[in-house]
């Protein structure tokens, strides 16, 4: 047992750090520190810088443009990205459809999509959730009816993140409603410019417009855009879940936020805005968070180490997801507490301009983070998974 990273890992960390120091544009770093939303162009710009270095899609198979990194290297990369305030890569492209294409795509599909997906020449969104199918995803109803060498799509998706920016959607659609509900689902790639698609934005309580409804009205999709076999879509989608365990707890991000909290604590107690008693109280809260974060970090590292030794971590992904999101949420609570009455006012235009103090986006950030325990399999669903793993019921 050894908590220290290997010489190779340390060298790798240095390499990542050097690259980020020289390649991450200052203006992006500044926006990230202020928790401002990036525009589509900014995300694209950064991902192309990473892709030029070969690091936009490290978890993909090497022959598809990935890196043969060890689990600990992946962990280091993610941590350094977060600590340097680097934006994350576009998750639907990099973590979702890329690996699916690499594993289940035809040669034609790979040739058509992989390079442009990595380079963010095309922007993907994910069409899974429907109004009646949230946690019970398999009950989705959007229908795809075969019509020659096309599918005719009718129905509705909801909570489609970034659909307004998307060129393509990967979607689960129902091609058969006769048998078990999981068995009639297919996995389809849909060009968002196709006739009959309407995107309607959903405003969320944090003031953002990331979520959308997407309506399909007799949308024609070539059968060549089917991933794998018809009716096997559920299997492919499930492949994504628990696929990426090394980053699920978002330790790096939380560490970086903890640093911010520490510096706010210094600032507020030094300036007398918190009296001594409040300062002690706050320091205790921070220490509590630190202990939990350290425990989660080590748990994450244990999973990384077990992966490196080829072991299977069972309920690990769910544990990391639950505790990771709880800590992320806890930290936004603390920032908001620190903001006090100054945090009541919204910044004038919070998503593009960072002229206000740190207090003004505190509430929005708190509201935004409520979703992390809902999306990607709610924490209740994660507990069901843990219970199933351990009780088999």
């Amino acid at each position: 047992m050894d908590l220290n990273f290997s010489v190779e890992d340390v060298a790798f960390r240095e390499e990542v750090r050097t690259f980020l120091a020289s390649s991450l544009p200052d203006y992006l770093c500044a926006k990230m520190i202020k928790r401002l939303h990036l525009t589509k162009d900014e995300t694209v710009h950064w991902q192309r810088i990473l892709n030029a270095r070969g690091w936009a899609t490290p978890s993909w198979p090497v022959d598809c443009g990935g890196q043969s990194w060890s689990p600990s290297q992946r962990y280091i990369f993610q941590e350094e990205m977060a600590l340097a305030h680097a934006p994350e890569t576009q998750p639907f492209n990099v973590n979702m459809i890329g690996p699916i294409l690499a594993k289940f795509g035809t040669d034609e599909q790979k040739a058509k999509f992989l390079r442009s997906t990595a380079n963010l020449d095309i922007w993907w969104c994910q069409g899974f959730s429907e109004p009646g199918a949230g946690s019970d995803l398999a009950s989705l109803k959007t229908s795809a009816v075969r019509d020659g060498n096309h599918y005719l799509i009718n129905g509705q998706k909801i909570w489609t993140t970034q659909a307004q920016n998307a060129d393509w959607m990967f979607a689960l659609v129902r091609t058969d409603s006769s048998g078990r509900k999981q068995e009639g689902i297919s996995f389809l790639l849909i060009d968002m410019t196709t006739h009959g698609i309407t995107v309607r934005p959903i405003e969320t309580i944090d003031g953002g417009h990331d979520a959308n409804e997407v309506f399909f009205d007799d949308v024609r999709v070539p059968t060549a855009n089917l991933i794998g076999e018809e009716g096997k879509g559920w299997t492919y989608a499930k492949h994504l879940l628990g696929n990426e365990r090394s980053g699920i707890a978002r330790i790096g991000l939380s560490k970086e936020r903890l640093k911010q909290l520490r510096s706010l604590e210094h600032e507020l107690s030094a300036s007398g805005q918190l009296d001594e008693r409040e300062t002690v109280g706050l320091k205790r809260k921070l220490a509590e968070v630190e202990v939990q974060l350290r425990a989660l970090e080590l748990t994450q590292l244990r999973v990384v180490s077990a992966d490196a030794h080829g072991a299977n971590a069972g309920a690990a992904a769910s544990i990391l997801k639950i505790k990771g999101t709880e800590l992320q949420q806890r930290m936004t609570e603390l920032v908001l507490e620190l903001a006090g009455p100054e945090g009541l006012a919204l910044a004038v235009d919070d998503h593009t301009d960072g002229s206000g103090g740190w207090q003004n986006p505190a509430a929005q950030f708190y509201f935004t983070m409520r979703k992390v325990s809902i999306f990607g399999g709610s924490n209740e669903i994660q507990k069901n998974i843990i219970a199933k793993t351990m009780l088999g019921l």
């Binding site: 946690s135 909801i158 969320t204 507490e337 009455p341 100054e342 009541l344 919204l346 409520r370």
Partner: protein, 375 residues
């Protein structure tokens, strides 16, 4: 020992509940929020006609001389509707400073105009940089002849931008005082802000604002005492509002649990969710009890009043967070959309905890006071 409402109180409750249910449906509120002022003057007139603006003022000034329970009933209904009109700022806060300063001749007229719905006010007491929720303002007031000159800046002034007149706290050589300052006074600048809960706010800067001595609302040295009383009343009112919100959130969540189906059954049939909802009800009932305690304590002597109000605000801060977060979680994605009421309720509960001391701040206040049960 009796928790029943009197006949008059029941009538008041019924009519304000009806008013909110009828005039303050969620869609209308969304419409109010989109307007430039962010609220509805028509609704305000409705409050005036119903007499709600007159409640706490003395009968001799045209008010009803009502107490904490009446305010509680109104605020609870306002909570259910997520009312954004300037009741807290005009009637409870600024109006409270007038009431507790002992309203004299000039003031009687102001009160009459408040009651008529013709005069909006705001309390400017929050400041940046100093200790949280301090009652000793950094804003300075200097006397020269028949005038005071005010210099300083205020933040988080609730409904500050639409107020016709501000009550400003400032420190003089002989202690803190409260001053009435017309919104259009020379040297004052008011910059409007949007609160995340939908309630408009303002930052107010005073650069050598001149105030005649007759506009001294509360003499030097008395400002802190009056402010403490008014803030206790505001906290009691916010507790009642929070209970209204929590009750509404709880009802909405139960309804959602019964109507939303997943895996072929209503999600309310899942025991883990049932138990979460049960926890919400427990917090709601405890909060309701404490809002009543706060309402019944605001006319007690300061130590008892402060302790009880702090206890209520602490309970409500904790419960509000739990109920708000659980409601969002139980709703799932729909809970965080701007089109759905629960998210707005969650935001307002968050703001209520942040105002006039959050739960931890009030726990510390109880510690300072030597404990809650200390007789």
């Amino acid at each position: 020992m009796d928790f029943e409402l009197s006949e008059e109180q029941r009538l008041l409750k019924d009519s304000v509940d009806r008013l909110i249910a009828k005039e303050y449906r969620f869609e209308r509120r969304l419409d109010f929020l989109r307007r430039s002022e962010g609220w509805s003057r028509q609704t305000w007139q409705g409050f005036a006609e119903m007499g709600l603006l007159a409640l706490p003022f003395a009968e001799e000034h045209g008010g009803f001389g009502s107490g904490g329970v009446e305010t509680m009933l109104v605020m609870e209904a306002f909570g259910r509707g997520l009312v954004v009109e300037p009741y807290l700022s005009t009637v409870i806060l600024a109006g409270g400073t007038i009431r507790h300063s002992g309203a004299s001749g000039r003031m009687a007229e102001t009160v009459e105009r408040i009651i008529a719905g013709e005069h909006l006010m705001a309390l400017a007491h929050n400041e940046k940089g100093g200790p949280r929720h301090s009652l000793e303002p950094q804003t300075r007031a200097k006397r020269s002849g028949a005038c005071w000159t005010l210099t300083g800046s205020k933040i988080a002034v609730l409904h500050g931008a639409t107020a016709d007149e501000l009550v400003v706290s400032a420190t003089t050589d002989t202690g803190s005082a409260l001053f009435l300052v017309p919104a259009e006074a020379e040297g004052i600048s008011v910059s409007p802000q949007k609160g995340y809960d939908g309630v408009p706010l303002a930052e107010v800067t005073l650069e050598g604002v001149s105030v005649q001595t007759e506009f001294v609302l509360c003499e030097p040295g008395m400002g802190e005492k009056v402010l403490a009383h008014v803030i206790a009343e505001a906290n009691a009112a916010l507790c009642a509002e929070a209970v209204g919100i929590m009750g509404d959130v709880f009802d909405t969540t139960c309804e959602y649990l019964l109507t939303r189906t997943q895996f072929g059954v209503p999600i309310g049939s899942f025991q883990a969710l049932q138990h979460q909802a049960a926890d919400m009800l427990i917090e709601l009932e405890l909060s309701r009890s404490m809002a009543i305690l706060a309402a019944l304590s605001i006319d007690s002597e300061p130590p008892v009043r402060e302790r009880n109000v702090s206890a209520a605000k602490a309970q409500i801060g904790r419960s509000g967070r739990l109920i708000g977060q659980r409601a969002i979680q139980l709703h799932g994605a729909i809970g965080i959309t701007e089109e759905y009421k629960v998210g707005h309720s969650f935001k307002r509960l968050t703001a209520i905890d942040a105002m006039f001391g959050n739960a931890d701040w009030h726990i510390d206040a109880i510690v300072e006071a030597g404990g809650l049960y200390t007789a």
